[in-house]
């Protein structure tokens, strides 16, 4: 099952400079584990532990077929073959 994942500039150090990679998994969390197996360290940039639970980092946006995964079940968002996943860090800050 191949899913295309668009990697933002800041995380391309993990993918050897690749802008897009392919992975597999029936859910976003499975996909992230698959990516971690190939690109060690990337998982920690996407998820964090909060209250004993693994959650998507607050300032990382992930989209499945252009939809923000926060509306699709977050890490439990289901994936299928041919889905397009985009990872984009939030553009945010504050004084």
């Amino acid at each position: 099952m191949a899913i295309e994942v668009r990697i933002p500039t800041i995380l391309r150090t993990y993918t050897g400079g690749e802008k897009a990679v392919t992975g597999e998994g029936a859910s976003l969390s499975a996909l992230i584990d698959d990516l971690e197996a190939k690109y060690t360290g990337i998982k920690d940039r996407l998820v964090e532990e909060k209250g004993g639970e693994i959650v998507l980092r607050r300032f990382v946006n992930v989209y499945v077929n252009d939809e923000d995964v926060r509306f699709l079940g977050s890490l439990e968002a289901p994936l299928s073959d041919g889905d397009a996943v985009v990872v984009l860090p939030a553009v945010a800050g504050g004084c």
């Binding site: 933002p8 500039t9 946006n61 252009d66 939030a90 553009v91 800050g93 504050g94 004084c95």
Partner: protein
């Protein structure tokens, strides 16, 4: 909030920006005051030319925080990818503090290739009057201020 180290007398980098884009960013900051404004100036990948100004909505709608709306963020990046562009400038305003990246700004800076522009509207708010307009590189948590050169028009590519 500036860090302890003194700046070198000559700043290492430079942001070259045209007057119309500079004015549009300042106008945006004044208009949105007392909330923080935010946006980008896109340019061809690798060119370091800020050519296409895009005002973004501050989804946080706050005087102390800014965040691009997640759907608009995706639309913006898809547009840039389609045009072979990248964010050359990422800007936002500080409305009660100086034009220097805050700890939050630094922690959330994820575009090592971009010029991070800070505009402070604390002196004149929505009114006419000069603003602080400063530019920085933020890489791995390290902030380097750079010169801002405003030109009538960018030199031909």
């Amino acid at each position: 909030m500036r860090g302890g180290a003194l700046f070198a007398p000559t700043l290492a980098g430079v942001l070259t920006i045209d007057q119309a884009t500079y004015d549009a960013i300042v106008a945006h900051a004044k208009r949105d005051h007392p909330d923080e404004c935010c946006g980008i100036v896109a340019g061809p990948e690798g060119s370091d030319r800020p050519e296409r100004h895009v005002e973004m909505v501050n989804a946080a709608g706050s005087p102390t925080f800014y965040e691009f709306d997640s759907t608009e963020l995706l639309d913006l990046y898809k547009q840039m990818w389609a045009n072979d562009e990248e964010p050359v400038v990422i800007y936002h305003s500080h409305t009660a503090t100086e034009a220097y990246p805050s700890r939050t700004d630094i922690g959330l800076a994820n575009e090592p290739g971009a010029h991070y522009v800070l505009v402070s509207t604390r002196e004149h708010g929505n009114n006419e009057g000069p603003v602080d307009f400063r530019s920085y590189r933020i890489v791995d948590g390290e902030v380097t201020e750079e010169e801002v050169t405003v030109v009538a028009a960018l030199p031909p590519a």
